[in-house]
């Protein structure tokens, strides 16, 4: 699977190109649209491969190294294949007091991976994140685009089942 994902013949789809161009024109400079461009491609493909990086840089007319600089700095841009669902558990201070370390070890055990890794079937990737702004409802985790609060291990176990 990984091999397939690293395939060299990479091409951006027309929709992706259009979308990137739209943002490129909308921002003040094409460089400013680079985060948005990376997000567009990542949304479709899950992660940003080296080939993708070159293709995006071409459209934005900036150097690939400038783009790489961005892609490696920001925590939400993935440079390695990730699972279909991204689990981010909040490990900041309020959630810490509400037992986020138990959540972490529970998830690691349940998914049989360590933090930062992806399950073999590419179903889940597990990542930490800083405070999700729901500290009054701690502990909190985020799966893909949704935030779940006031969690218990039991609830998390049930939640996982609803993501394929």
């Amino acid at each position: 699977m990984l091999k397939e994902k690293l395939n060299d013949t990479f091409e951006l789809s027309n929709d992706e190109k259009q979308d990137i161009l739209k943002h490129k024109n909308y921002y003040e400079s094409s460089r400013a649209s680079s985060i948005e461009a990376l997000k567009i491609v990542q949304k479709n493909r899950g992660w940003i491969s080296k080939r993708a990086l070159y293709e995006i840089a071409k459209i934005l007319e900036i150097s690939a190294s400038d783009l790489e600089e961005i892609a490696t700095f920001y925590s939400q841009i993935f440079r390695k294949p990730v699972g279909r669902n991204i689990i981010r558990y909040c490990d900041s201070v309020v959630c810490y007091m509400y037992g986020c370390e138990n959540i972490k070890s529970f998830l690691e055990k349940r998914l049989d991976i360590l933090i930062g890794e992806t399950t073999k079937d590419f179903r889940f990737t597990l990542l930490p994140t800083c405070c999700l702004g729901s500290c009054d409802k701690a502990p909190v985790i985020m799966i893909n685009d949704r935030v779940y609060s006031n969690l218990t291990l039991q609830l998390i176990a049930e939640l996982l089942e609803s993501y394929r």
């Binding site: 700095f73 939400q76 800083c130 500290c135 935030v147």
Partner: protein, 443 residues
């Protein structure tokens, strides 16, 4: 717990909320008098006059630093030859323990938009940006819809209210990293660069994003602008019980009965918030320590609980008001472990630009982890104090490092015996120090 009666007189930021706390969309917002302040400003108040009103109101920035907004605005270059200026709304809320900007954006988005429009008018800005944190997806969707509503009603666009002015609000959503919340790092990030802070001077007010004069204000700060314009300076000043004017979104989280946030007058005591609003500590727990406003503020103890929550009182007590969303630490929490968690956050989020912060913070984390596991070394606490000094104010490129060591330094100050007792239980390994060389068995 207190029953809260919100009126436009006493709760200018949150009285818009309806019972179910749904999003206040434009219809409801307008019905309750929304956008009247913008109309008043554009029709009858000169930009310089708006700046003066905000200055007189003594509104202070709500992002954490507490700089006077009116003063910040008046620093903006007024050079007639410059026809492009920017207003950036800092919505990159990521300070652990803080959840107020998200609340304002998700519940009353039009108040922020109106605040941005009035501020743009005052600062002669036609294009403003909201720099939103990437994870705030719900807030993003709500803001997008609110912006398009405001466009439909003609508040955003060309020739607003028949004037020759045009306004545009651009929503930019980030891709992570705490440091983006630092003003100049935010500028770099918006330009599509790594979010390393920039050297000051020049200040953003003269050379900011894309080299143009730029003003950066927090979400809550901007949300305060419409009520000030509508109701006047005197009214605004009278809201508060202290020298700082207006109201502030404050809160309490941690093991309290009713964690949450409330709009309260400055000067209310931390005890009142904790007991009357947050319902006190959970049964069986007592308050041991608390942070007044976010992870980068110094710990205070139970003895400080009666201090008024305003900028000067909290700093007199040895901490910072920060974002005013306080966090309670109960008696079951070990300070060494708690601080280790906080330092892991700051260490992970260091932008890596300057050495004390990039290398010092991981070092602090190693030491704390060792202490926590009773594997400390004889001089560890002293070493931590030394590191607090090396990462202190003025020694690093930006305020990240001084903010990072604030909780550590204060925890050692008030709870030294907890650190020491970790050491006492440790099987002390006496390593031989070679002068100037860092022992690497920490790693």
């Amino acid at each position: 717990m207190k029953k809260i009666l919100r009126t436009s007189e006493t709760h200018p930021l949150t009285w818009w909320l309806n019972e179910n706390q749904d999003v206040v969309w434009i219809k409801e917002y307008k019905k309750k008098g929304g956008y009247l302040a913008f109309e008043k400003a554009i029709k009858s108040i000169a930009p310089s006059e708006i700046i003066k009103i905000v200055k007189d109101s003594e509104l202070r920035g709500r992002g954490g630093a507490g700089f006077y907004t009116g003063v910040k605005w008046s620093l903006m270059s007024t050079d007639e030859n410059i026809n492009i200026r920017y207003l950036l709304c800092n919505a990159d809320e990521m300070e652990p323990g803080t959840y107020k900007d998200k609340f304002l954006m998700e519940k009353i988005p039009h108040q922020l938009i109106e605040g941005i429009l009035i501020s743009s008018l005052a600062l002669r800005v036609s294009r403003s940006y909201i720099f939103l944190r990437g994870e705030y997806i719900r807030a993003e969707n709500i803001l997008r819809q609110a912006i398009s509503e405001a466009k439909k009603y003609g508040y955003i666009g060309n020739n607003v209210f028949g004037s020759n002015l045009s306004f545009e609000i651009f929503l930019h959503s980030g891709a992570g990293r705490y440091i983006c919340g630092e003003e100049t790092a935010l500028i770099n990030s918006l330009e599509g660069r790594r979010a390393n802070p920039r050297f000051k001077p020049p200040f953003p007010a003269s050379v900011g994003v894309w080299g143009k004069p730029t003003c950066i204000n927090n979400v809550e700060t901007l949300s305060n602008i419409p009520p000030i314009i509508l109701n006047g300076v005197q009214w605004y000043k009278n809201l508060s019980k202290s020298l700082d004017t207006g109201t502030k979104i404050m809160g309490f989280s941690g093991k309290v009965k009713n964690p949450g946030l409330w709009e309260l007058p400055f000067g209310i005591t931390a005890r009142e918030i904790l007991e009357d609003y947050a319902g006190g500590m959970n049964d069986g727990l007592t308050l041991k320590a608390w942070q007044p406003g976010g992870a980068s503020t110094e710990f205070l103890t139970y003895e400080h609980i009666d201090i008024p929550m305003d900028f000067s009182s909290v700093s007199r007590a040895g901490s910072r008001l920060g974002t005013a969303l306080a966090m309670a630490v109960d008696n079951t929490v070990n300070m060494v472990s708690l601080v280790r968690n906080i330092e892991e956050f700051f260490s992970r989020e260091s932008c890596g630009w300057c050495t004390p912060c990039r290398d010092g913070l991981p070092w602090i984390v190693f030491i704390l982890r060792d202490l926590e596991k009773f594997k400390g070394h004889k001089d560890d606490v002293k070493l931590l104090e030394e590191l607090c000094y090396r990462l202190g104010p003025g020694k690093t490129f930006c305020a990240h490092a001084p903010g990072a060591i604030a909780p550590l330094r204060s925890a050692i100050k008030y709870f030294r015996q907890e650190f020491d007792s970790c050491l006492e239980s440790s099987q002390i390994i006496n390593i031989k120090f070679i002068k100037g060389v860092q022992p690497n068995n920490k790693i």
